[in-house]
């Protein structure tokens, strides 16, 4: 696998803005409004709710696992659809792009977990409870999966080589042929890598979304996540082990039976016209392509269906691509102005109420929010420093040996897909029985969730150091620290930054589950922004919940803009091997 592809896999420092523009402020206001609306809905949710019983018998696990995977799959399908539509809209017109890209950019730095109470309660207010909780879980997983996929698809559409696009026009492809012959194949590799990442992220939130208490309202859905938490509550170690094993098994099976074969298959959509010396392999894919039955099924189910679709859609009117910088008609100007005006009016109207809600939060609570933000920031930094400390030496070791890298990389990939939240019950048990401080546990949980991205990128960065440079360093007898300082660290820098950006976002998000735990009648928490959000949720204190959530959104967006983006740009300009 080449370095370039990996870069696109884990690149989260996407658009290049390194400050907050007026558009961002508007978007933040829009999000604040949405949060407020959700909270309003949430506070009107019905009070007493029946709770689904979670069976701790390991025999039900396959059934639970199926439900969880079903939820994930539903959210994933939704994500793919959304990505295609949104990506198209953003790539097709300059003016849509100007609005849609900043929105995407802010949305993907939003800590999704803090939205959970708002989403769940908001939906229970308007839908029957069972449906509402199910939809809430899917929506939540969707919001954790969708942004990077959308960005990847958009990016692919924008980077399609000009001559390929022109060929499509000259040969009169309509929208369907463009999509099927050109855009989808071209986007497929990026979309697949991002799908893999999205599933890993989705598991994390699924664990949290399946069981959930707000004030006296208790929501649960049968699934692996709720099983694990219930097991922890019942102090049933055997059940926890069974649950974790099931989860690992699902992750491994999906990796081996779905993602790996797909990875092998999409290689044919590579644009590079040279062969890869080290293409990915999959035993399952080889098995399938050698099987007559599979080929027959493929012919019957896939090829024929695609042909039928081709016949229907292939005749549609030819799509005439608009020139991107065509001047707008005055009606378009007017429509756009009107839309903006309406948006601003809505935001203003709700904003006034929102401000009222925020003002109702006592000043002392804002003091706690400020202190919590600092405390959580310190925990995030600690977790990342620990992650750097162990992943760099190990990653460089693995990355320096192609043989080792080939063996270990799939393992690292799987490890990265196992959600840290699955281990949360174990950690809670450790706190209860051994008196481990929650401070340590919180950092540990953040670490579990984020270190893999860093390790992955360090390995990629090391194996991307050109051989000439290694040889030259050998000739100049660069050894020990000098070798690290002159060769390894500068080469790693861009990769490390890419990994850290993903890790940082993940760690902030994890704080919501990591800093607060309920066990039996007892509540364990530490000072932290995440703890505040969880506490407000548990108590049903919507003012505090809104204030803390908005704080986290703003903090994370600002850290991304003012810190990571700048470092990323420096890395791109100065340390990228080209």
């Amino acid at each position: 696998m080449d370095a370039l592809r990996r870069k696109t896999v884990f690149a989260t420092g996407q658009s290049s803005a390194t400050y907050l523009g007026w558009a961002d402020i508007l978007i933040l206001l829009g999000i604040a409004t949405a949060v407020y609306l959700g909270v309003q809905l949430a506070s009107s949710a019905p009070v007493s709710l029946a709770r689904a019983e979670i069976d701790l018998n390991p025999q039900v696990l396959p059934y639970y696992a199926l439900q969880s995977v079903g939820r994930m799959a539903a959210a994933y399908l939704l994500s793919v659809l959304f990505s295609l539509v949104y990506g198209y809209m953003a790539a097709r017109s300059r003016s849509a792009e100007r609005v849609l890209l900043p929105v995407l950019d802010v949305l993907q730095s939003v800590p999704i977990l803090s939205f959970l109470p708002v989403v769940v309660l908001g939906l229970t207010a308007i839908l029957p409870q069972a449906t509402a909780v199910e939809i809430a879980a899917i929506v939540l997983i969707f919001t954790s999966q969708v942004w990077n996929m959308t960005y990847s698809f958009y990016q692919s559409l924008r980077t399609l080589p000009r001559e390929l696009r022109e060929a499509a026009s000259v040969f009169r492809f309509n929208w369907w042929w463009r999509f099927r012959r050109m855009e989808l194949p071209f986007a497929s590799i990026g979309l697949l890598w991002n799908s893999i990442m999205s599933w890993a992220g989705g598991w994390f939130f699924l664990m949290a979304a399946e069981i959930f208490t707000v004030g006296d309202k208790d929501f649960r859905l049968p699934g692996v996540g709720s099983y694990l938490q219930e097991a922890a509550n019942a102090n049933d170690t055997t059940a926890i082990v069974w649950g974790v094993l099931t989860l690992v098994l699902i992750v491994v099976l999906l990796d081996q039976l779905v993602w790996r074969p797909l990875l092998v298959w999409v290689q044919k959509f590579k644009l590079e016209t040279v062969e890869d010396d080290n293409p990915p392999t999959s035993w399952f894919y080889s098995l399938l392509s050698g099987s007559r039955l599979a080929n027959w099924l493929n012919q019957v189910l896939v090829v024929n269906v695609v042909r039928a679709v081709d016949r229907r859609l292939g005749k549609a009117r030819r799509f005439e691509p608009a020139e991107l910088d065509r001047p707008l008609h005055w009606t378009q100007h007017a429509a756009r102005f009107l839309a903006l005006l309406i948006f601003i009016l809505i935001v203003l109207a709700l904003g006034i109420e929102l401000v009222g809600l925020l003002l109702s939060v006592p000043l002392a609570e804002y003091g706690r929010i400020a202190a919590g933000t600092v405390a959580t920031a310190l925990r995030v930094i600690t977790a990342m420093l620990i992650a750097i400390a162990w992943t760099i030496p190990l990653g460089v070791l693995i990355g320096s040996s192609p043989r080792l890298a080939n063996i270990l990389q799939p393992l690292v990939q799987i490890a990265a897909s196992i959600p840290a939240t699955a281990f949360f019950p174990l950690i809670v048990l450790a706190i209860v029985s051994n008196g481990v401080s929650l401070n340590v546990a919180a950092v540990l949980l953040m670490l579990l969730g984020t270190q893999w991205y860093i390790l992955f990128n360090v390995i990629a960065g090391t194996s991307a150091i050109p051989k000439d440079l290694r040889d030259m360093s050998d000739l100049m007898r660069f050894k020990g620290w000098r070798r690290w300082r002159k060769l390894i660290l500068p080469s790693l820098f861009p990769y490390l930054i890419t990994g850290l950006i993903t890790a940082s976002g993940g760690a902030w998000n994890a704080s919501i589950v990591a800093e607060y735990a309920e066990f039996g009648q007892q509540t364990y928490d530490v000072i932290g922004l995440g703890a505040l959000i969880s506490e407000a949720t548990a108590k049903g204190d919507f003012g505090l919940l809104t204030a803390a959530t908005l704080t986290m959104i703003i903090v994370v967006v600002c850290i991304n803009r003012y810190f990571w983006r700048r470092l990323y740009r420096l890395a791109e300009e100065k340390y990228r091997m080209e």
Partner: protein, 457 residues
């Protein structure tokens, strides 16, 4: 493949296909306004093979895309068979420089993909694709993917795909320039055979080329363009009989004549230099040529006893595409090292002194001349006006963007820095993204205060 002995093989001219009337194209508004083409009048008739030649940036590819309907003109009329053209022209196809094959489709699927949107039934599609692939000699490669083929074979797929839709007008956008010399030559011969023998229904061919010999070898009419903004400067009829032989005197004369037309004649110093950005008058863009190429050129010409060389020979010796040699010649003219007249390049006394000088002497000669170049003079005066003689790259880009499109502004400043660094006039600091004037530092002092760590063990 040998060329068909098709007599003197000129096709009789038929009806007018394309008629361009005062066509112009501009982009953007206000500060970002750039004019790509102005006042283009051109007709293409059945039976014609036309080549478009001109320096890069003269808009020949834009013109080709306007005729194919990929881009709309902003001024004038584009008529096809007497009707105004709207949207993509259904009677044309393009063969692209980069082939533009879909790498995820096999050779056969690539050709069929062009037929699918026409609503041709599957069996007929396959039949037609196979026939065309056979035609261009790709029999047996139908199931291969483009990445398994050599460049020449990939372009054959490009031709087969274009011919599959049976266009009246075949547009070729530098179709041979991404190929190795031998593949290009054989493909040219094969195309000429298909064209002259009339085995393809194509009525006319329009080719953008970077290679004068190629154009003279193939085309009946050569349109020569120049830039700022793109316009037609000359049309040359080529009545040499087919098959044309490159070493024949008439052939060489025509190539030489076109080179002379394209390199023009060195003008007076004031005209060559133009004015600085922000000043009245036309800002002269620096020719984008690296220092090493300029000194290489001067040294090569200095080897001649007469200090004079035919531009055509120079191009023939070093590069195939005139696009690479023109900016270097232009740079030598601007700096005052060489004069061009009637297709001959001769060194000035200064150029000779430069060619024979030591490294230090060369730098001094170059620096002295560079101070006269308005763009460099302008940068120097801006820097000197600063207390620390340092100014951000972006400031210069902002100023240059008023004169040039953004990407050209970047390249202009790159060239200026390349030249000025060599002449030690000013330099660029990567750490703070700024241009600065270097303070004189004697070598002894530089050694005494090394920047890097000493080589300890």
């Amino acid at each position: 493949m040998a060329l068909a002995t098709h007599g003197h093989g000129h096709k009789p001219l038929g009806q007018t296909l394309v008629d361009l009337r005062k066509v112009g194209k501009h982009y953007g508004r206000g500060d970002k306004y750039t004019e790509a083409l102005r006042g283009i009048n051109l007709t293409i008739r059945e039976g014609e093979f036309i080549a478009l030649l001109g320096p890069s940036g003269c808009g020949k590819s834009t013109l080709l895309r306007i005729i194919a309907g990929l881009i709309g003109a902003t001024e004038g009329e584009v008529l096809y068979r007497g009707q105004p053209l709207r949207g993509v022209n259904p009677n044309t196809t393009i063969v692209f420089q980069s082939f533009a094959l879909y790498p995820w489709l096999t050779v056969q699927e690539n050709v069929e993909a062009a037929l699918e949107p026409l609503g041709i039934a599957r069996l007929e599609r396959t039949k037609r694709a196979l026939r065309l692939l056979d035609h261009v000699g790709l029999d047996g490669f139908e199931m291969a993917y483009p990445r398994e083929l050599s460049g020449g074979m990939r372009q054959k797929v490009g031709f087969a795909r274009a011919m599959a839709v049976e266009p009246e007008l075949l547009c070729l956008d530098e179709p041979f320039s991404a190929l190795d010399v031998l593949s290009a030559e054989s493909l040219r011969g094969e195309l000429m055979e298909l064209w002259l023998s009339g085995t393809i229904p194509t009525k006319a061919i329009l080719m953008v080329s970077h290679n004068i010999e190629e154009a003279v070898f193939m085309a009946d009419r050569l349109i020569i363009m120049d830039k700022n903004p793109g316009h037609i400067v000359a049309e040359i009829q080529n009545t040499l009989p087919h098959p044309r032989r490159r070493k024949e005197k008439a052939f060489l004369t025509m190539v030489d004549q076109i080179y002379a037309q394209m390199v023009g004649k060195t003008r007076t110093e004031a005209e060559e230099l133009g004015s600085a950005p922000g000043e009245p008058g036309l800002t002269r863009a620096l020719p984008e040529a690296p220092i090493s190429a300029i000194s290489g050129l001067v040294e090569r010409v200095n080897e001649e006893l007469t200090n004079k060389i035919d531009v055509y020979r120079l191009a023939d010796e070093f590069v195939n595409d005139y696009d690479e040699i023109l900016p270097i010649i232009e740079a030598a003219e601007v700096i005052g090292f060489a004069n061009v007249e009637a297709g001959d390049l001769s060194l000035t006394p200064l150029g000779q002194a430069f060619a024979e000088g030591s490294i230090q002497a060369r730098k001094e000669i170059f620096a002295a001349r560079l101070r006269r170049v308005p763009m460099i003079r302008w940068i120097l005066s801006m820097l000197k006006a600063q207390p620390d003689q340092r100014l951000s790259w972006d400031v210069f880009i902002a100023a240059l963007s008023r004169e040039f499109p953004a990407e050209i502004a970047e390249r202009q400043l790159d060239t200026a820095v390349d030249w000025a660094r060599y002449a030690e006039l000013f330099s660029y600091d990567n750490s703070d993204n700024a241009l600065f004037i270097e303070v004189e530092q004697p070598i002894a002092q530089a050694i005494a205060q090394p920047n890097g760590a000493p080589n300890d063990h």
